[in-house]
């Protein structure tokens, strides 16, 4: 009998075989994400919706005399951003909803590397989706620009910043969804919270700040706004409002009644929200039992 | 009485059940056997109308399940113990089922007592162990006091106490003249409680016969086993008389084509000492493995065939 096989099993297991290194956890999470159907669906819908809505919106505005194609660039994202949000929620909550967490956290008992790996993997997947969705948005404005004989120059002024903001906006929404899913551990509550905060809260705040009767033409609402209102401040500091600022041009200036954070400021506020929820999820993961 | 005739169910290009015909008669426990993905669960789901057959028919008391006037009273069904909202208590789950047929609360409490669920009746089903979930499923099947029962893996996850209880329960139900169709992977269990078995593989019928008959088909059945310190002379003697002898370990010979009497006589003729002599009995498990040997197909890639 050789010396190698005579070594006790326990000793061999602890010395020769490395455990779940972070790189491996990332690889495992990547496999999990890509092997499901729902992320691919969410990504495809995001890209298609971004392109189609931007195209329709640019077509609709192209009849206006002062038509500027780049103004329509981010309109598709107003609907398409739900895709990354849902994607994040499904990844974050899916682990717990399906019971896969029992497998995952017995393999990686320290747990937090799983969350960190999910953040990385989701960010990477969302980045790919976001780049495609932004490209689809650019394609969406080209036909109407061509019909008016306007050339689209993505390198001029603050357009590169806008494009970058659009990409980061979609990635950040995916991470926000992931954090909510990991914190609440169930799809429906996480999704409802996400929709509430990102979609409905801005609507409520707009309704409140709207000086006319609710639902009236918002184009005419910004006529006589006071410099900075409580509501306006709340609106840009809320996750949805801050995130939306990322898809505006730096030179656009603030909406009436809101402090001028600009796209960078909005991005930072939203990043802070994402971080807060992620930390809460990590704390819950460390401190609470996994079912 | 459950009658399945030329039943075929396809999902796209996958054929889950392929021209299956069998009958589960009243007053008997019919075991339903087959490897994973053989089409057992699909057949049961078609029988109770959850899925439509691609072709063929499945009837209960001569009627399609969906045409039964009072399905719960005609057929008790347990397809999957996890057919319960995890947020609902066992009592409320059964009550909601009962209400669809105007069954009284007293009857709900009766089946809860009968299945030993009393201590857990007001706990949310999401907190149940596998065995408790299984008891809840059986309670649901018994609720309407039905003449036919369809139970998919009823002893799965039960403790020995519970296994014994299910065995007695299905025997008693059959003795009362009811039809019981029961699938299981536990061969010993089925051998003990089923009167006849239907074995399928890849959606096709492999055997439909009384348990005893299936067991006798086992290769080992009818083999004589003899242990002797003198295997060589005994083998020569037996082969000369036309029997087939397969030597085993420890001086044991398996003899086919000769009775116990023949082997004993042959041993005396050649002077071999016999330490042990008897017939091997076949088992349902062996017969099953031989029947399904080439029909085993683990359809891991086929998401639709397995339980989702």
């Amino acid at each position: 009998m050789s010396a190698a096989t005579a070594t006790p099993h326990g000793a061999r297991a602890t010395t020769a075989r490395p455990g779940p290194a972070f790189g491996r956890v990332v690889a495992a999470e990547g496999t999990k994400l890509l092997s499901l159907r729902s992320p691919w669906w969410a990504a495809a819908v995001t890209v298609v919706v971004a392109g189609v809505i931007t195209y329709l919106s640019a077509e609709a505005s192209s009849v206006d005399p002062g038509f500027e194609p780049l103004d329509s660039l981010s309109t598709g994202l107003a609907l398409a951003h739900l895709g990354p949000l849902v994607l994040g929620v499904l990844v974050g909550a899916g682990e717990f909803r399906t019971g896969a967490s029992r497998t995952t956290f017995t393999l990686v008992p320290r747990r937090w590397p799983v969350l960190a790996a999910q953040v990385l993997v989701t960010a990477a997947f969302a980045l790919g989706t976001a780049v495609l969705a932004t490209a689809a948005s650019v394609l969406g404005i080209l036909p109407s620009a061509a019909s008016r004989g306007i050339t689209v120059d993505l390198t001029s002024d603050d357009t590169p910043g806008l494009v970058l903001g659009m990409v980061l906006f979609l990635v950040a929404l995916a991470l926000f969804g992931l954090a909510l899913g990991a914190l609440l551990r169930r799809t429906v509550p996480a999704l409802v919270t996400g929709l509430l905060v990102v979609v409905i809260l801005p609507v409520v705040l707009t309704t409140a700040g709207d000086p006319l009767v609710s639902g009236a033409d918002p184009a005419s609402t910004g006529l006589a706004g006071p410099p900075t209102t409580v509501l306006g401040t709340l609106a840009v500091l809320s996750p949805g409002g801050a995130a939306q600022l990322m898809t505006t041009s730096a030179s656009a200036g603030p909406m009436s009644g809101t402090p001028d954070l600009g796209p960078v400021g909005g991005g930072l506020v939203f990043a802070a929200w994402v971080l807060v929820v992620l930390v809460a999820a990590a704390v819950r993961l460390r401190a609470r039992d996994v079912r | 009485m459950i009658e399945v005739e030329a039943l075929t169910k396809r999902y796209g290009s996958t054929t889950a059940v392929d021209g299956l015909t069998f009958t589960a008669p009243p007053g008997t426990v019919t075991g339903f056997l087959g490897p994973n993905g053989a089409g057992k669960s699909t057949t049961m789901r078609v029988v109770v109308g959850l899925e439509r057959p691609t072709s063929g028919t499945a009837t209960i008391h001569g009627r399609r399940y969906a045409d039964l006037p009072a399905p719960l009273h005609a057929v008790g069904v347990m397809l999957d113990a996890r057919s319960v909202h995890p947020g609902r208590t066992a009592y409320k789950h059964l009550l909601a089922m009962a209400q669809t047929h105007g069954i009284s609360k007293a009857r709900v409490r009766e089946v809860i007592a009968q299945t030993g669920l009393e201590p857990a009746a007001h706990r949310r089903a999401g907190t149940f162990s596998l065995g408790m979930g299984q008891r809840l499923g059986i309670a649901g099947a018994l609720l309407g006091d039905p003449a036919t029962l369809i139970l998919d893996e009823p002893v799965n996850g039960l403790d020995p106490d519970g296994v014994l209880w299910v065995r007695r329960l299905v025997r008693d139900l059959a003795a009362e003249g009811r039809t019981v169709l029961l699938s299981s992977h536990l061969m010993h269990e089925l051998a003990l409680c089923a009167d006849r078995v239907v074995i399928i593989g890849r959606g096709r019928l492999l055997a439909d016969a009384p348990v005893k008959e299936i067991v006798e088909r086992s290769e080992r059945a009818g083999t004589v086993r003899v242990r002797t310190p003198d295997p060589e002379p005994l083998t020569r003697e037996l082969v000369a008389s036309g029997a087939q002898v397969t030597p085993q370990e420890g001086g044991v010979l398996h003899v086919r084509g000769a009775s116990v009497d023949d082997v004993g006589t042959a041993a005396r003729r050649c002077g071999a000492t016999v330490l042990e002599l008897g017939t091997e009995s076949g088992s349902l498990e062996e017969a099953y493995l031989q029947l399904t040997g080439d029909a085993v197909e683990y359809r891991a890639a086929d998401a639709r065939g397995g339980a989702r």
């Binding site: 499904l90 509430l196 409905i200 | -």
Partner: protein, 280 residues
């Protein structure tokens, strides 16, 4: 653990097919669905959350109403709808998908193999729950805005033209959104898909189109389920809406008709899928 053997029951043969053993009727299925809805604690929390959200929003929005901005007392009381509709949508979607996500469908549809009575009963039970929730939400909104001192918000005055209709409309719109969620849930069978579709149809699309006002977008807006929110407005607000739109003017009940048509179409699609497709 006690394992009681089946006791000697009534003679088997005699009881089989006897008249007392009757099958599912709509009334019985209704009772079963009511038990199902009330026995899940999450639904209770959802109803309470919706009431609180409606009242909280009404109070919050009421703080910003000024006497000169044309908002009536009924506007303040029904303004919680913007947030509460999400609760109604979730309620409907949960009732519609719960069967399929939890596997209860196997139990339910073996007990009621004709299936459609289950969908009908779910619609009735969900609509009733939505109605009760809406009435509670209106009451809570009224109390919240009446008791707490809101600087300039007008008090609820039912003599304002359309004010009482707006209160009734709040309940009707709530029921409609709930049924839309139920239909989408039963049709798509996945809560995430049903919720996102519902939110897009009932809220997001309208916001998106409002950002690009034109004859075309205003026409589309008037044909979306979000038009149901018009039911919560009084006469003056509706007139303002109709004056602002470049699309068709829906008038008093037009929004209700639009959302009602959506509910019917989605429920019919759900019924078709339930009838024709396998249940897992």
């Amino acid at each position: 653990m006690t394992t009681v053997l089946p006791e000697s029951r009534a003679p088997q043969r005699a009881s089989r097919g006897a008249p007392r053993r009757t099958g599912p009727t709509l009334w019985r299925v209704l009772a079963a669905e009511r038990t199902k809805l009330t026995s899940v604690r999450a639904n209770t929390w959802l109803v309470l959350g919706t009431v609180v959200a409606a009242a909280g929003t009404a109070y919050g929005l009421g703080m910003f109403v000024r006497p000169d901005d044309g908002r009536s007392g009924s506007w303040v009381v029904t303004s919680g709808f913007v947030l509460a509709q999400l609760g109604f949508l979730v309620l409907g979607a949960l009732v519609g998908t719960a069967e399929h996500t939890t596997g209860t469908a196997r139990t339910t549809f073996t007990a009621v193999p004709r299936r459609l009575p289950v969908l009908g009963a779910q619609a009735l039970v969900a609509a009733t729950t939505a109605l009760v929730t809406a009435v509670l939400a209106l009451g809570a909104s009224y109390v919240a805005t009446a008791v707490a001192p809101l600087a300039d918000a007008p008090a609820l005055d039912l003599s304002v033209p359309g004010a009482s209709r707006a209160l009734l409309g709040f309940a009707l719109a709530s029921v409609a959104v709930t049924l839309l969620g139920l239909g989408l849930g039963a049709l798509l069978r996945r809560p995430a898909a049903a919720l996102v579709t519902g939110v897009v149809l009932a809220i997001v699309s309208d916001q998106l189109l409002a950002a690009n006002p034109s004859r075309f977008t205003d026409t589309v807006r008037s044909l979306l389920p979000s038009a149901g929110a018009r039911l919560t407005q009084d006469d003056a607000a509706l007139a303002a809406l109709d004056a602002a739109t470049r699309g068709p003017q829906l008038g008093v009940w037009g929004g209700g008709v639009v959302v009602g048509a959506w509910v019917l179409v989605v429920l019919a699609a759900a019924a078709y899928r339930l009838r024709r497709h396998d249940v897992r």
